[in-house]
Subunit: 300 residues, 2 copies
């Protein structure tokens, strides 16, 4: 599975970065190949100060080695070695009318002390963080998520949509990070579902990412916006930072396994503001967004 | 002690906010009195968009109630009730030649199930986070810290200076948050030192805060700076956010005890940037700062 999935991710990274560059005209991805001292490494690609994308990171990595004690506790296992590979992307557009998007596709293997494979699973998903509620865009994104799911199991979309709302919950703010999408983890083989079936599902979701996001970019990239709307975007980006640094398990895993800091923290937005006790005006478009974040909606 | 220390903090908050307003001419503190549903409350004072201070928060609070399970584990105690009061301040000046400063003075009481006092201690300190190394300012700040300590115990300064360097260590970046100052915790009564002695020490440090910081503000407030220097300040502020959200125990305590979010997160800087893999040029002033942060120095 390692030999199958990592090449898939390499190819997906190529596809996505090419498509984003094509959209942006101006911005170009810079690539960095890095190695992890304890085993493995990755290929980081970052685009900054594009015409459309203010900051975009599309990274892949495959790391392996001894599982740190804290992660042993987390996975409830004894001394183990592990293999993990994944693609992570975060795109922060300049225009506040285009949502921020995040996606992740990952595969994990755990081995016992003698190196015997003990467990293996897929995880991942994609989710949208708008600054203004343009409902048709959110519905389009969720429809794409549902389409990827429905060919596999009619229950997948509603299950993984709910898990996404639960996972990206900014508990200390009592609101969601964004309007969700899909989140799945520990997708293991069962009696009915083979590991190949899991691979087929995760790659189907991966293959559908560009369909879910790029049409939104194309529709909104020439929308005008005011300095006040840009300020709102920068304030909301602050909530994105709070989620990623306080709650996100992926960030935590990266920091605990001595991952490459700059690749992990590429998710942080380029320009951010924190204002004291900022609240949108009643009945404003900003208030509409907050209402939806406080009470996640069924979009389809 | 509660009846002695909280009025002291109320008075110190008045002194500090008055002095800061006097320095700033333009900016004025807005006050918010808040109550904690589980017991207690506080008085938050925030100044935004001043002439000198871009964002400054000087908050006091006194909270009490049942200790949350996570904090029981942290303090290694059984089911307890607690009382905690403190003053916390963070000042983010606009001009990158003026350092950011943080100070905290706090007092804690723990009671067993029947309400009997089981433990009580003081904690706190002050520390400086410059964006450019103006050595005489850092030496002045540390000299004030030492002066506050020396009248009590000749070992205090070196002990609490080292604890400060250790505490404000941004482990995932392998660098200090700033150039330190003092950090002390669990200052309890001993055979030789009474709780009143502890009070005398902590209040002496508190009384010396304005002497440590205001002369630096006065000296540097009219220094010119370039957009590039301002950008450097905003990038370094990102490291401040990372420390506060990933490592800071005070922030954690506030979030876990259902503290007032806006008062806890007032510490976050107003305008912040994250750029991918940003490093200062060799032999630049920015590189000088990073060198000191990577290897904390003895300033006196």
């Amino acid at each position: 599975m390692k030999a199958l999935f990592y090449p898939y991710l390499q190819n997906l990274q190529n596809l996505i970065t090419k498509k984003l560059e094509h959209q942006d005209h101006l911005g170009r991805f810079e690539e960095e190949i890095w190695e992890r001292p304890e085993g493995g490494g990755g290929r980081t690609r970052i685009l900054e100060n594009g015409a459309i994308f203010e900051k975009a990171g599309v990274n892949i990595s495959a790391v392996h080695g001894t599982l740190p004690p804290s992660m042993q506790t987390y996975f409830k296992v004894e001394k183990s070695t592990f293999y993990a590979c994944g693609l992570s992307l975060v795109i922060h557009p300049k225009n506040p009318m285009i949502p921020t998007v995040h996606a992740n596709f990952r595969y994990f293997e755990l081995y016992n002390k003698r190196g015997t494979l003990k467990d293996q699973w897929f995880g991942g998903g994609l989710d949208l963080t708008p600054y203004y509620l343009i409902e048709e865009d959110i519905i389009h994104f969720h429809q794409c998520c549902k389409n990827s799911c429905d060919e596999f199991d009619p229950s997948f979309y509603s299950t993984f949509k709910e898990q996404c709302d639960n996972y990206f919950w900014n508990a200390h703010r009592n609101e969601a990070r964004g309007v969700g999408g899909l989140f799945f983890d520990y997708l293991k083989q069962t009696k009915e579902i083979s590991l190949q079936d899991r691979y087929d599902f995760v790659t189907a979701v991966g293959n559908n990412f560009l369909n879910a996001y790029i049409p939104i970019v194309q529709k909104r990239k020439d929308y005008r916006y005011t300095p006040k709307q840009r300020m709102w975007q920068e304030i909301r980006r602050g909530r994105y930072v709070e989620f990623n640094l306080i709650h996100d398990k992926g960030t935590l895993f990266g920091l605990k396994t001595n991952g490459r800091i700059e690749s992990i923290l590429m998710s942080l937005p380029p320009h951010v503001q924190w204002r004291y006790d900022n609240h949108p005006e009643k009945n404003s478009e900003e208030a509409d967004l907050v209402a939806v974040l406080e009470k996640p909606r069924d979009w389809l």
